[in-house]
Structures are given as C-alpha cells and as structure tokens.
Amino acid sequence: MKRVRIIPVLTLDNEKLVKTIKFNHPNYIGDPINAVKIFNEKEVDELVLLDITATKNKREPNYFKIEEIASEAFMPFAYGGGIHNLNQIEKLFKLGIEKVILNSALDKNLDLITSASNVFGSQSIVVSVDVKLNIFNKYSAYTNYGSKKVKENLNSYLAKIERAGAGELFINSINRDGTYLGYDYQLISSLTSQISIPIVVCGGASKAQDFLKAIQSGASAAAAGSLFIYTGKTKGILINYPSQETLLKEVYEKL
C-alpha cells in the first residue's frame, strides 16, 4: 500500500472562488474561506490555490486574503498567481503557505526557479505548466492562464524547468479542464518517463479510479477542481472529497 496525495485545486478571481471549463467561462462558486473550512473538515491531503487573474490584471498576490485562508488551512497549502520575484515569495511563506507555484513569471527566463529554490529549498517551489493538445495531436505549454503559447517544444521546456531546480511540476491539461473526461494518461506517461521530479496532474478527473490510473501512469499526485466543487450531473455546488475508506480501497491499496 502506498499513500499518494489527492489534491483539491481552487481557482480564484482575486477574492472570488471561480471554476472554469477548458480555462474559459469562469463560473462563480462562492467564498474561498468556506471552501477551505470544508476541505479542512474533510481532511484533504493538500490544497492548491491559484489566482488566475492576478497576472492578467497586473495585480500582486492578494496577501490579505491568502493570510486569512492560510490561517484556516491545517494541511499543506500551495499558492500560485501573480508571483514574479523573490520578495513576493518570501512574503508568501511568512503568511503561512508551504509552496509557491510559478507559471507566467517564467515567460522571459527560468532564473526565478533557480534563485527561489536556492533560497527556500526546491521542495517548496512548484512550477505549473498548462498543456494544450492541438488539432495536429501535438502538445504545447502555455502561460498566462492558457493565453500565451510557449514557443519551445514541451519536452525540452520541461527538461529546462527540472534542470533549473523546480521541486515539483503541476501539469494541468487545458483540454480536459472541467470536462470530467478523465486525465490525459497518454500525456502523463510520456512526461513521467523523462522527468524525475514529482509530477502532479490536473484536468479531467471524474472519479476516484481516475486518481489510481493517473498514479499508475506515473504521476506522483492527482489534483482536481470541478470534481471536488460540484456534485453529480446537475453540477450543483457542493464542496466534497472522498473518504479515507474510499481512497484506501480505490487507490492506496491498489498501489
């Protein structure tokens, strides 16, 4: 038996909790604090919070809100959105978060990964890479919440991120976001065979068995947004998380 991390992802538009489909159509969900309190009660493994409009709107991370959320998060807590320099990262760690997630700041170069992991330790520096499959069946990385394509080929981009000193990769499939179609297992297998740092996958999860398949394809942890926010086919808002019994039976004991 092996425990792996099953991670709810909350996407924020500044102070509002929203959920997208294929990185579009943000749907207003509610107050993030309530969601975090419920995830606490459900004893989730870890929590990822992404402010998806900070960079676009040239905002700083919302430190006040992040501190409020961190004070309610009795599990490992990662934050991404609007992070562009070491001062911001230091400030975020002092608020009580465990990991920062970098994405759009890497547009120009990857130096921030190296300097941040030298100062704070690589285990606390996560790089998120949003991946889109085009109609020619080719994967590309994107930054700026899916609006800016990275020219470099995906594999060499990821290899550079790993060499730069990232502690973990957070791979989000844009095509699968909010679709409940299952993770992109083909993508996971191809990436995990060439990357040795832990890979967290996100995008498309619809049930606990999907976590198992993601891990069996090579991921170190499985994350999900919609699955933990909505209920059933009607997609009513209901913050949820599988019980330990379910995770043991459906995932951990099969690993």
Binding site: A70, M75, L255
Partner: protein
Amino acid sequence: MIVIVDYNAGNIKSIQNMLKRIGIKSIIATNSEQIANAEKLILPGVGHFDYGMKNLKMMGLIDMLNQKVLVEKIPLLGICLGAQMIGNKSEEGLESGLGWIDMDIIRFKKEMMFDGFKIPHMSWNEITIQKSSKLLEGLSNESRFYFVHSYHMQTKNSEDILTNSFYGYDFTSSVEKGNIYGVQFHPEKSHKYGMKVLENFSKI
C-alpha cells in the same frame, strides 16, 4: 508558555496558527533572552541542515538551548529539520548537530527502495508506534501525518525510537529521549492528528 524558536528557517506561522486554533499560547523567540523564560520549546525547521545550524550559531542561541534542554530539562519538540538537528551530524552537510540524541541523519537509501518511491518523501504517511509516549496519547498506528524530506533520522540506540514509518523501507519518523522529542513529520500541517500531537506536547 511555549516558545517557538525562530532562526529564519521554518514556517513559524503555520505552527502558531495551529496552536492558536487549539487555544495554546505561544511566543516567538529570536534571541537567548526570550528563550530563557521558556517552559517548553518548539524547534521548527525547513531547509538545509547546515543553513539551520549556522543560523542557530550566528544568532547565538545554542548555549541557551543547551541550558534549557540539557540542564533545566524542559520539554523540547523538534519538527522536521528541527528534529534532525537534535542529532550528531547529517549527510546533507558538514556542520555538527546539537547532539542531544545519539543519531545521524542519512539520505534515503535509493538502492533499498523499489520503483515509485521518489525522493523527497513528500506525502502523508502512517506511523508505527515503538513505545508508549505522552506525545502520542490518543493517537494510533492509523494516525497519518504529512512528510516532506529527503533525509531521515537513524538512531544509535533503538530505545530512542518513538515511531517508524514506511517509505521504500522502515525509517525512524520520530524520536524521544527524556524531555527531548523530535518528529520528522509536520504536525502543524497534519489536521487533527497533528493538533493532537501539539496539544499533547503542551500538556507534558
């Protein structure tokens, strides 16, 4: 009063948040005078072994820590790097540790681990309790804790082992010797299980 030692290498805020939630007062100490009045000490820590030890030295905290822990024998809880620094030395660096418990800190032995166990060990894990302890009152082998580390403790004397955990092989996940406690996991990030550990510590 619980005093949390802040030597610029740990997530102090998370520990304070959790203590506050369970109604336990704590203060943060950055110098010897503040440590002098402690009834209990928490030594947190995240990061490199040498960085942590050098900071303790540079800030002039080691004599006072020795006085409180070895002479006055007040309870001390080391967390993660803070637990590792209780040992003699670490494969991660060249600095000497505090040497309060006879143990070395070694890197996870890759050759003993089969595929699928990546380093660092970054996940929740269970514990196997090796002896009864006030620190673990109300907790069991089913209790789970959050870990993130590439190095682990290896004691010279098995009676100092409080719990083991399995990650590729059994390693020591917490130690206890008299008034000195060290946990490799992060109680401040381990939900009700971690709360129980901190609550137990506050009652020792």
